[in-house]
Symmetry: C2
Subunit: 491 residues, 2 copies
C-alpha cells in the first residue's frame, strides 16, 4: 500500500494521524477544522450510536430534536455557559447571497439580508433546550423529563485533530429536568455509569470515574463527572462527561414547577454527552504499528474470509465451500465479509484487513479444501491456527468474546501499570516523564493546580470517585491535603 | 384536554397545525422557522429512518458524514445549483463573540473574528461532497461510489409550516458516482422505487412516480424523478426526489476517472433525498378529526392497554393478568404500553391514545377478568370488539397487518377517485375546485406551465412514468400534445 508507515515509538502523534487516514476512517475537509467521516469510520460510529441509544432508552430516555441555531439573546442568558463558549462560536449574520455585480457567476453576501439578531451555531444546546423546557414543565407531574438528542455541534477550535478536536463534531447530549437536587445528582451519576459501562464493555477501555475540579468544570455546571481513559502513550483522554447543573439554567430561563404541596420551585438539571471523540479513544487505546485493532463488539466487519486460489475454477470451488460458513455466521449475528475481488492479491488483502482492524481473518486455499480446514488469524495477538470447518461458527463465536476480553485486559493491565503514586514534586515530574497518570496530594487551590499545569503541562484529570480519604501534603505547596487526585497530560 | 379541536372540513390547514401541536409531534421554536421535534414525533421519524437506512444498505449504500459548512467558493462552483439556493442561505461570517463593553453580561459579535471566506450552512451537500469525491475517485475501480448521509440542512424559507417547510430540517441525502450515464440513470430510478416502496409499505400512502418538468427540476440536475402523494384535501405533496445529475458536478469539481481502456472521463452522478416532510405526509394522508391515525408499521406504540378499575386492589389484579399478555406481545415484536397511571382517568386515556393514533387499544375491566376477555378498539375503523384472552397475541398480530393494509387501501381508493381526466380548460378548472389531481394534455412549453400556475395555482406535479403516449391538445393553448401530465395544487 502506498502510504507512509509510522511506528508508535517514533512519533505517536503522527502514527495516529496516519492511521486515521490510512484506515479510511476520516479525513480533513475543505472547511477549516471540519472533518469528513468516511464510510468505514462512520460504520464504527454507527455501532457506538446504536449501543448507546439502546442504553439511554433502557434508562428511560427518549430522543428529540432541537434547532441548530441559538439566538444570541438566549445564548447569553446563562452567563457562565455563554462566557465559556463565546470565544469559539460560529455566528450566522445573513440569510441570503446575491450575484456579484463585478464578478459574473460569483456570489456575495446580500447586505440587505442581515439578521436582526445573530444566530449562534450550537456549541451545546442547554440554552435552546431550557428555553423550550420552560413551556413543557408546569407541575411535578411533568418531571422528570428525560431527553436525549443526537446532533452535530460546532466549536471553533484553533488547533484541530481528526476525531479528537474538530470544529464540527457529532455527539449526543442528554438534558434532563428533575424535581429535587438529589434526583438530579443521581441522574448525573447514573449516566456516568452508563458511559463507563459502555467504554469498558464495547470500547474495551477501562476508565477512571471521577469529578472535575472547579477549574475544569463545564461552564454553567455545579459538578462535572468524567470518565478518563489512558492512551498507549500514557496521556489521558476525557471520554465522556455528565454534569449536575443545579438550578442554574432553570433560573436563567425561569423554569419553575408546582410541587405536590402547591409551592413553586426551580427545576434541577443535568446534561451529559459523548462524541465522535470516542473514535479517537478507540483508535489510540488499542491499535498497533500495523493498523487498527477493533474490539469485536464495535467492528463493522468481525470476520473476513479470503480465498487463496489460482484461476476461476478454484475460486468457484472455494466460494461454494464458503457459502454455508458465511450463512451460518450471519445467522449467528456475526458480520462477515467474503472478499473475492480478483483485482487484488491475497497478500494485499491480508495487509488491508490488518490495517482496518478486522478481529478475525480466515483464509481458505486448495489444501484447506482437501483437509476440511481453514487458517484463522487473530488480529489482536496475531496468532494463526488451522481449524476444522466442523463447528467453526461456535469456535468463532467464542473466539470473538475472547478477543473482546483480551483487548480489554491488555488495556486494563497497561492502565494499572501506569498509574504512579507519588509523594514529592520530584517524583511527580519523574513519573510524568515515564508517562501515565500520577496520583498525588493537592492542596485544593486553583492556584496550585494552575502552577502545576504551567510547569509540567499536567492537569488534574479528576478526583476519582473511589479515592480514599488519606492525610497527606500537597506535592507542590506542602500544604495539607485529605485526598489524592489524578494528574496527567491530556488530549 | 384543554385544546381547540378543529375539523378537517372547517379548516384543513388549521386542523393540521393543531394536530401536530396537540399530538405532541413538534412545535415552533424560538428560532424563526425552525421547529422542535418532540419525543413522540421523533419516535416516528426514528422508525422511518431505521427502515430507510435498512433499504439503503440492502441496495449497497454506506453512510458517511460531510461538513455542515460549505465555503462560498465551493458553493458557487456548480452555477445552476448555486443560483437555485443562493436566496435561502444561512451565512456564517464570524467565529467569535465578545463581551459588549456597553452592556455588562451581554455579548456582541467580535468584528476582529471575521472569516476570510464566508461559510454557507448546507442547504444540500452536492458541492462539499463532490469536492471530496474528487480525491476519492481516480479509476473505474473506485466506481460506483454509493454513499448516503443523514443530516440537518438549512434553507431560509420565508413561509414555514411544521414538518412541511421549515428553515432547518432533517433528511438523508444519497450521493452516488458512476462510470456510465446508463448506470447513473438506473441508480436514480432504483432509489425512486425504494422511496415508492417505503411510502406504500410503511407510510401506507400510494404514490405516483414521475419526472419533473424542467421548471420544477432540482437546480443542477438533468432529470428529477419524484414521488407525489395525495393528501386528504386533494392537494399534492412531493414526498421524495431522486436526481440524475449528469456530469454537471463532475465538471464543476473536475472529477474524472481512468476507464478500463485508459482514457479519462467525467464521472456521472445522482443524488436523492427524503426528509422530515414525510412526517407531514403521514399526518395529512390518514388522520381524522379525533387525531392521528398511524400505520402500525410506523407507530411507536402499536398497542396500548388501559386498565378499568376502582381502587388499588383491582388494579393489582388487572396488572397481574396483563403482564403475560404484555410479555407475549413484546416477544412477538409488538410495541406495547400498559398505561397504569393513576393520575389520569380512563376516559382521558382513551382520548389521548386516539389523538396519538395508537392502532390498537385494549381495555380490561373487572368483568373482562371474570370472562377472560378484553375489549379491543381499532383506531382506523373505530370498531370495538370483545375478544378472548386466549390466542390474543396472534389475533393482534394479524389485526395489525389488517390495519396497515386498510389504511393503505383507504388512501389508495381516495387517490384513485380523485384523479380527474380532463380535456378542456373549463373541465380543468372545475376538477381543481373539486380537489384532487388533474390529468391533462399540456403543450410542453414552460410558458403554458407558468400561465396555468398563475391562473389556477396548480403546478405540474409530474409526467407519470406509466403515462401512455396519446394524441391530444393542450388544455390551455390548444397546441398538440403527445402525453397527459399530472397537475395539482401542492404543499
Amino acid at each position: 500500500m502506498a502510504f507512509q508507515k509510522i511506528k508508535r515509538s517514533e512519533d505517536y502523534s503522527k502514527w495516529y494521524n496516519n492511521l486515521v487516514i490510512n484506515a479510511d476512517l476520516a479525513e480533513h475537509s475543505a472547511v477549516r477544522g471540519c472533518m469528513v467521516i468516511k464510510p468505514y469510520g462512520y460504520a464504527i460510529w454507527e455501532k457506538m450510536q446504536q449501543q448507546l441509544d439502546k442504553m439511554f432508552k433502557e434508562t428511560g430516555h427518549s430522543n428529540a430534536y432541537f434547532p441548530l441555531f441559538v439566538p444570541k439573546s438566549l445564548f447569553e442568558a446563562e452567563e457562565k455557559n455563554a462566557e465559556g463558549f463565546a470565544k469559539e462560536c460560529a455566528v450566522v449574520t445573513h440569510y441570503r447571497l446575491k450575484s456579484d455585480p463585478n464578478n459574473p457567476g460569483k456570489l456575495i453576501v446580500d447586505e440587505d439580508a442581515k439578521l436582526e439578531e445573530e444566530l449562534i451555531v450550537r456549541p451545546t444546546s442547554e440554552a435552546i433546550i431550557w428555553n423550550t423546557y420552560k413551556n413543557w414543565i408546569q407541575s411535578y407531574r411533568d418531571l422528570p423529563l428525560l431527553i436525549n438528542q443526537w446532533a452535530n455541534v460546532v466549536r471553533w477550535e484553533m488547533r484541530t485533530r481528526l476525531f479528537l478536536r474538530t470544529a464540527e463534531f457529532l455527539w449526543q447530549e442528554g438534558h434532563t429536568a428533575h424535581s429535587t437536587r438529589q434526583e438530579a445528582i443521581e441522574e448525573s451519576e447514573r449516566m456516568l455509569n452508563v458511559y463507563a459501562e459502555f467504554a469498558e464493555t464495547f470500547l474495551a477501555i477501562p476508565v477512571i470515574k471521577g469529578i472535575k475540579t472547579p477549574n475544569e468544570r463545564f461552564a454553567g455546571a455545579e459538578e462535572t463527572y468524567t470518565i478518563e481513559g489512558m492512551m498507549q502513550d500514557g496521556k489521558a483522554l476525557q471520554m465522556g462527561t455528565s454534569h449536575f447543573l443545579g438550578q442554574n439554567f432553570a433560573k436563567a430561563f425561569d423554569v419553575k414547577f408546582a410541587t405536590k404541596e402547591g409551592t413553586q420551585e426551580y427545576v434541577w438539571a443535568t446534561s451529559w454527552g459523548v462524541s465522535t471523540r470516542l473514535m479517537g479513544a478507540l483508535i489510540m487505546a488499542h491499535s498497533d504499528d500495523e493498523g487498527l485493532i477493533l474490539p469485536p463488539n464495535l467492528a463493522p466487519i468481525q470476520v473476513v474470509i479470503i480465498p487463496i486460489y489460482k484461476g476461476e475454477d478454484e475460486l468457484e470451488i472455494i466460494s461454494q465451500r464458503v457459502k454455508p460458513l458465511q450463512d451460518a455466521l450471519k445467522k449467528a449475528g456475526i458480520s462477515v465479509k467474503f472478499d473475492n475481488r480478483d483485482t487484488q492479491r491475497s497478500g494485499w488483502k491480508f495487509a488491508e484487513y490488518e490495517l482496518k482492524g478486522v478481529p478475525i481473518r480466515i483464509a481458505i486455499g486448495p489444501r484447506d479444501l482437501q483437509n476440511n480446514t481453514v487458517e484463522l488469524a487473530r488480529r489482536d495477538t496475531k496468532e494463526k491456527m488451522s481449524l476444522s470447518m466442523d463447528g467453526l461458527t461456535e469456535t468463532i463465536q467464542s473466539l470473538l468474546e475472547e478477543i473482546q476480553l483480551n483487548i480489554y485486559t491488555k488495556a486494563n493491565d497497561f492502565q494499572k501499570n501506569n498509574i504512579h503514586c507519588v509523594n514529592t514534586f520530584t517524583e511527580f515530574e519523574m513519573a510524568l516523564e515515564k508517562g501515565g497518570f500520577v496520583s498525588a496530594h493537592w492542596d485544593g487551590t486553583p492556584e496550585t493546580e494552575e502552577k502545576i499545569k504551567n510547569e509540567t503541562k499536567a492537569t488534574i484529570r479528576c478526583i476519582p470517585l473511589d479515592s480514599k480519604l488519606e492525610e497527606g501534603i500537597c506535592v507542590l505547596s506542602g500544604k495539607p491535603s485529605k485526598q489524592r487526585v489524578l494528574f496527567a497530560r491530556a488530549y
